[in-house]
């Protein structure tokens, strides 16, 4: 076989392999979504979303998982707000106060990347020991603390990536008008708003789906928590605990909870893409 032909054959072979790889990826996405939706839609009913579990619920009785939905929303809502409060100043400091060659900035980015890689079960175990140390029991507060720790590195790194491409001239313009760096923060926040939005969506997705970290810290309960010191149920745990039950009605509840969780995550990921596409068009 001459060289030219060999070249073409290998080109063709590689292209086939690539197409196969991509089809596998699509097939997987389709399979996962299809499985969750087909099982979940069959199991879904209005009472699943509205009726609190009762004593007989785990033996096949009536009831759904609004406790888990509300618990998840409480935890995710509170930790997102806390996460934003911590990470916006950090990102701002990183990109406005520090020079790009700064050692502190390097170590901070490295620390966040490392924290991002720490398994959530380690956060869970560590958070639990801290709670014991402060005399807290499994509670809504514990869940909020751990999830906040979990999402802060994601917040910082995603926003940091968005801020890094942001034109430095705007800073100079703001300083030239006599603004302090603190006042310039307002300009920066407005500029990187889409970045903050995507980071928030990403963090919410991560926070709402994480089971390993809230397992020991937020616990699980059948009622909706009314104070920070009460345990709170979460959606991933509602799926996890009920899936292994031998009773079909209980397993159905797990499927329905999985469907709710998937829909939430899908909405988050689609709107994240939308924001990125929408705003990257008019970027300078």
């Amino acid at each position: 076989m001459d060289i030219k032909r060999k070249k073409q054959v290998s080109e063709w072979a590689v292209k086939t392999v690539m197409w196969i790889s991509m089809s596998i990826v699509f097939l997987l996405v389709f399979s996962v979504i299809w499985t969750i939706f087909s099982k979940g839609c069959k199991a879904m009913s209005w009472s699943m979303l509205t009726k609190l579990p009762t004593a007989g619920t785990y033996l096949g009785g009536e009831g759904g998982f609004p406790n888990a939905i509300v618990g998840s929303l409480y935890i995710v809502g509170a930790s997102t707000v806390l996460g934003l409060l911590v990470s916006i100043p950090v990102v701002f400091y990183l990109n406005v106060y520090l020079k790009t060659s700064s050692k502190l900035a390097y170590w901070l980015r490295l620390a966040c990347d490392v924290l991002f890689g720490v398994p959530s079960i380690v956060y869970g175990a560590f958070g639990f020991t801290i709670m014991i140390f402060f005399g807290l029991r499994t509670s809504l507060l514990g869940g909020i603390i751990v999830i906040t720790m979990l999402i802060i590195p994601i917040f910082i790194r995603t926003m940091d990536e968005a801020t890094r491409n942001f034109p430095r001239e705007i800073l100079d313009a703001s300083y030239a008008l006599g603004a302090t760096r603190w006042e310039t923060l307002k300009v920066v926040v407005r500029q990187i708003a889409p970045g903050i939005a995507t980071a928030t969506l990403l963090s919410i997705g991560r926070a709402i789906g994480d089971a390993a970290s809230v397992m020991f810290t937020a616990g699980y309960t059948d009622s909706i928590p009314t104070s920070l010191s009460q345990p709170a149920a979460t959606l991933p745990l509602a799926v996890f605990f009920q899936l292994t039950s031998p009773i079909p009605e209980v397993v159905d509840r797990a499927y329905a909870a999985a469907l709710v969780l998937t829909i939430i995550v899908l909405i988050l990921s689609i709107s994240g893409r939308f924001i990125t596409n929408r705003f990257s068009k008019n970027k300078l």
Binding site: K7, S10, S21, S31, A125, R181
Partner: protein, 292 residues
Amino acid sequence: MVKDKLAQSVMLGLCLFSILMVVTIAVGLYLKSSPVLENKSLWSLLSSSEWRPMKGEFGFFPFIIGTVWVTVLAIAMAFPISLFTAIYLTEYAKSHVKKFVFPALDILAGLPSVIYGVWGVLVIVPWISNRFAPHFVDFSSGYTILAAGIVLGIMVIPLLVSLFIEVFSSVPMELREASLALGATRWQTTHKVVLRKTLSGVAAATVLAVSRAMGETIAVLMVCGCVIGIPKSILDPGYPIPALIANNYGEMLSMPLYESALMFAALILFAVVLVFNLLSRIILYRLEKTQQ
């Protein structure tokens, strides 16, 4: 001006706090696991297979082996798929193809681990039990290392693809153009220029994916079978370290040494993930710098 100074110190404080969090986790886990470390030597903890918490025997070997098996399988499956997908997306694909692939990857990346667990229990486990395993063994429940490996492999694909894309885009366009101008095909350019130039980056990305796979808990816990013992083949059940921690955390509070042993498990996980992450991130940062 006072406000500016105040804001500056608050922000500096928050930054230091973030950096210190890594140290705090390490120290906290070490302090908690020190009772079991005083009781047993590090080597015997890592190499013994005796796991009898009630008698104070803590051998982590079966769990370490379980983690290694599952992780290796997952990476072996995810690596080729991710590599070729990433090459296609950076070197070949037109923008309208990317419009379909990126959202698909977004969805894969965003799905929580418990959803992959449900999918594994409903799809992969029955497939192994009914279709795959009967060719090799008499009976398998399907809850095996293989199932955990497959589920985990799928979970790391989006991470690997996005890291590979980042790595490949660090190669300057001029190098590709030079190669193409000499008459090389796209694939020749890819493997002789792009891949050769980014070998360290590809390795770093893979190490990062390994560390992510090792720590994954819920999905693996749901399909791995959780039987303590050293697996002989991928059709045996396994028991990785994260699953061990998650399964036993509630019940160990009455026994200080047991709690300490589980904290030691978390410490092993943290230490390995920390080292892997530091190494690969530093390599990736260097790569990013050469690009600018």
